[in-house]
């Protein structure tokens, strides 16, 4: 690396310059086109002193509506104030800014009027909430308008101080960072050809860290990940030894009460709000056990980064993102190692690890990143051993494989089934039969120790006759209970088997190729469903077509069958776990199973399809480069279309 930089520093410097130049040019010419080539202006209408304007009509409307609720007619009263603007001439509105005072949260809707191209006036609606805790409302409009109507709904006992329209030139730092990353990736893809051959991990780490940083920075303090408040609380509390200091900001986060923003300006004042509420002198102190529970070890880097952030006295908003960066760093490092050591299928590993949902989970407070990355590394190390049948097993390789599978299954014990792969090493890998038997016994004992963590509570509660134990409090709609459900399954094994197998097959394509698993940003939304048409050929291509250089390593049918059986076993456990804990007792369907639960084992599926018949005769370097170009687009598309709009 050092030598490379020494030799190519001029080239790298030129590229860095090109990236900066392109970024500034695109930011100016594309995203500030209207500010540069139309009039730049800020027009403010003050209403605080009861001022009136010729072309502004203000109208108060008290209304009451009746709705039917549970057979009863419920009357609700509301208050609307309409501000209707007729502009002297058509103008481009980039941003709407409203100053207000209000004791309650309320909503503001703007209808912008413009010619629809057929000579008729059409309205486009922009809606957003205003929070009582703040005094400024911003919304991105970005269209020409001849007039507009701003409707303030239910601002009880509040005032509107001013309404401001603007079209100012703004260099958005978040968008510029995104553009810089895009151009850097493009240049890497064009000029970094040798890396895509045998050093694919370098490009993976480059893209994962940059795109992951974008996800973290764009996500800011928003509540974005699944149950993120719970995961944050786990990571945060473990950053303290025995007494946790919950500042007001940390409490807001762990209770998921953070304010929502969707513009650059709102993000800034919400950041100030959080930072002002991070006073440790006024923190609530809560005692906790000194030992980290086994199922919370997966947060270790998030915890470590939060602890470092606290020591460095980082502002809370930075600290919150810094903790997530710990997760991303571990994920990138582990997957990069998997790619580096993979004898075959480096592109498969990179693609699975770069799936938007995987990367997204690695940039949230969550344990999925650990489960996915360590399963991948464990599987790749196992695969290397199986593909090299003659080489004897070494203790450090076994330690690495067992360590990966155990660590991956600490937060979600069902994945420990994959450790069963180790029981099927070829006989040639052992010195003697006795050695092999001892080894298998050890592996089984490790599996049982992990399985014990979720089977023991069920077994002990069942033996104590506590049939109501184990209901999931998140599912308030229906009666659930692990013990009762388990008894129901044991009473009707055939019915449950049919239901389970039928459901797995019915959902298989959607859960493997669909956006639900592969391109889902939780509370921020998922990619367009059309991405399924990209993922399907990509996965099938990766699975069935391999490069000439990789064909010497194809798994035996025996091992393909073994992987298939274990993967199917994990599928069964995933569905059964949720059937037991989250589904109504005796229901003929499943609740709570999310496609993302398949992600840790996704990497194994393409290896089942690898063969010596469908071979790509091109260079591995080009094959990998094309695949990585697709993944670069996929990963950055979500950052632009789903996450960036919250920051402009």
């Amino acid at each position: 690396m050092k030598t490379y930089i020494k030799e190519h520093w001029r080239k790298l410097l030129v590229m860095a310059g090109a990236v900066i130049l392109l970024t500034v040019l695109v930011e100016l010419l594309v995203f500030n086109f209207h500010s540069l080539f139309d009039d730049t202006y800020t027009t403010r209408y003050d209403f605080a002193g009861g001022q009136t304007y010729d072309h502004v009509k203000i109208e108060d409307v008290d209304y009451s509506t009746t709705t039917e609720q549970d057979g009863k007619t419920v009357e609700s009263k509301g208050l609307e104030t309409d501000y209707t603007f007729t502009f002297p001439e058509k103008m481009y509105i980039k941003k709407l800014h409203i100053g207000y005072q209000s004791p309650v949260d309320f909503s503001i809707t703007m209808n912008a009027y413009n010619d629809n191209g057929y000579g008729e006036t059409a309205a486009t609606e922009y809606y957003d909430q205003s929070l009582a805790a703040f005094t400024d409302y911003y919304n991105n409009i970005g269209q020409d308008a001849t007039g507009c109507k701003i409707r303030v709904v239910n601002n009880f006992n509040g005032t509107i101080d001013f309404i401001e329209f603007s079209n100012e030139l703004t260099m958005n730092p978040y968008r510029m960072f995104f553009l810089a990353v895009v151009f850097s990736c493009i240049l890497f893809l064009i000029f970094g050809a040798p890396v895509f051959g045998r050093k694919l991990e370098v490009y993976f780490a480059f893209l994962s860290l940059l795109a992951g940083s974008i996800y973290i920075i764009f996500g800011g303090t928003l509540r974005i990940g699944w149950d993120e408040q719970v995961h944050f609380d786990n990571a945060y509390s473990n950053a303290y030894f025995s007494t946790v200091q919950y500042t007001e900001a940390a409490t807001i986060m762990k209770e998921a009460h953070q304010p929502y923003y969707n513009t650059l300006e709102e993000r800034q004042y919400i950041a100030d709000y959080f930072n002002s509420k991070d006073n440790t002198d006024q923190a609530v102190l809560v005692s906790k056990p000194r030992f980290i529970p086994y199922n919370q070890w997966a947060y270790i880097t998030q915890t470590l980064f939060l602890a470092i952030g606290r020591l460095l006295h980082l502002p809370f908003t930075i600290l919150y993102m810094f903790g997530k960066f710990g997760n991303l760093l571990l994920y990138t490092l582990v997957v990069a190692l998997a790619i580096k050591y993979a004898k075959v299928g480096k592109a498969i590993v990179a693609v699975i690890a770069l799936l938007p949902t995987c990367l997204f989970q690695a940039t949230c407070y969550a344990y999925d990143g650990v489960a996915i990355s360590f399963t991948i590394l464990g599987f790749i190390l196992w695969l290397n051993e199986v593909l090299d049948k003659e080489k004897k097993l070494k203790w450090y390789n076994v330690l690495a494989i067992v360590g990966c599978f155990v660590f991956a299954s600490l937060p979600k014990a069902i994945y420990i089934i994959l450790l069963g792969l180790l029981c099927f090493f070829p006989k040639t890998k052992f010195g003697s039969k006795k050695q092999r038997i001892f080894f298998i016994a050890g592996v089984v004992a490790v599996m049982i120790t992990i399985i014990y963590t979720f089977l023991f509570p069920v077994a002990s509660q069942t033996s104590m006759g506590n049939v109501n134990w184990g209901s999931d409090v998140r599912n308030e709609e229906s009666e659930t209970g692990i013990v009762k459900q388990l008894m129901m399954i044991l009473d009707h094994p055939w019915t449950y088997t049919k239901l389970l197998v039928g459901t797995i097959f019915k959902t298989f394509c959607d859960y493997i190729f669909g956006i639900g698993a592969n391109a889902n940003f939780a509370f921020l939304g998922a990619y367009s469903a059309q991405f399924t048409y990209l993922f399907t050929p990509l996965f099938l291509g990766l699975g069935f077509i391999s490069c000439q250089e990789e064909t010497k390593y194809v798994l035996d049918k025996k091992y393909k069958l073994l992987i298939g059986v274990l993967v199917f076993g994990v599928f069964c456990l995933i569905w059964t776990a949720l059937y037991l804990s989250f589904t109504q007792i005796g229901a003929l369907g499943f609740n709570g199973v999310q496609p993302r639960y398949y992600l840790p084992i996704m990497v194994m599926l393409p290896f089942l399809c690898r063969n010596k018949t469908l071979v790509c005769h091109g260079k591995l370097q080009n094959y990998n480069r094309i695949v990585m170009a697709i993944m670069t687009f996929v990963v950055l598309y979500g950052a632009y279309s789903i996450m960036l709009p919250f920051n402009v």
């Binding site: 030992f291 086994y294 067992v402």
Partner: protein, 219 residues
């Protein structure tokens, strides 16, 4: 240096694994011999319905008479700040024996640390053994801005328990959680897991195996 360390580990791996297994076994035994004491909470009167706020103004003393069989490590009481941010004041608490009235210990905590509706832990650290018939006495002083904390009570009537303010018995009781010592073995599972992992590794090592790591040859 790294090469030397790796080779040394390779040479001695069986001994190291055996040592690790021995440590795990010792750890398992130690887990049973010296279990970890922790604070287990048991809600006693926790219904948050029809709550009444009782201000702890200067000179007000709240008393809670109760009986416990096991030794108490502390108690949790539900406080109110009247939806204000408390900036000053110290809350004092003392535990007395009902039988002879002697003090088993007292302590204090800062009022500004309290949040609205928080079940605040009042540890009995350094107290004499708190069990049997007890009286918990709580009062507050040092408030400079007139914003006093308060304690929630509910109308629940409980046998052998009474809450009073300045000697006047209330029709109800404080929202209470008792904290007892409990014991667990937090490292036991890890010792067992590591023991099995080390056993697995031991199975793939051989006596007098040739050195594996040769290191990079210098040019």
């Amino acid at each position: 240096m790294i090469k030397k360390v790796c080779n040394w580990i390779d040479r001695n791996i069986r001994r190291l694994l055996l040592l690790g297994m021995l440590l795990c076994v010792l750890g398992i035994i130690a887990s049973f011999l010296f279990p970890n004491e922790y604070m287990a909470t048991q809600g006693y009167n926790t219904k948050a319905e029809q709550l009444v706020q009782n201000p702890l103004t200067e000179g007000t003393v709240m008393e809670y008479k109760f009986q416990v069989e096991k030794r108490l490590l502390g108690i949790q009481v539900k406080y109110t700040t009247y939806d204000k941010k408390l900036t000053s004041g110290v809350i004092h608490y003392e535990v007395l024996s009902q039988t002879d009235g002697h003090s088993l210990g007292s302590s204090a905590m800062s009022a500004p640390n309290i949040a609205e509706g928080q079940d605040v832990l009042m540890p009995f650290t350094g107290f004499e053994t708190c069990s049997g018939s007890l009286i918990l006495r709580i009062w507050c002083d040092g408030v400079t801005d007139g914003n006093y904390p308060g304690i929630y009570t509910n109308p629940q009537i409980i046998p052998d328990v009474a809450t009073s303010i300045n000697g006047q018995v209330l029709q109800g009781n404080m929202i209470m959680t008792y904290c007892y010592p409990a014991y667990n073995k937090p490292l036991l599972w890890y010792f067992i897991l590591f023991l099995f992992v080390l056993l697995t590794l031991f199975a793939v090592t051989e006596k007098d195996a040739p050195l594996i790591r040769k290191g990079k040859k210098k040019a």
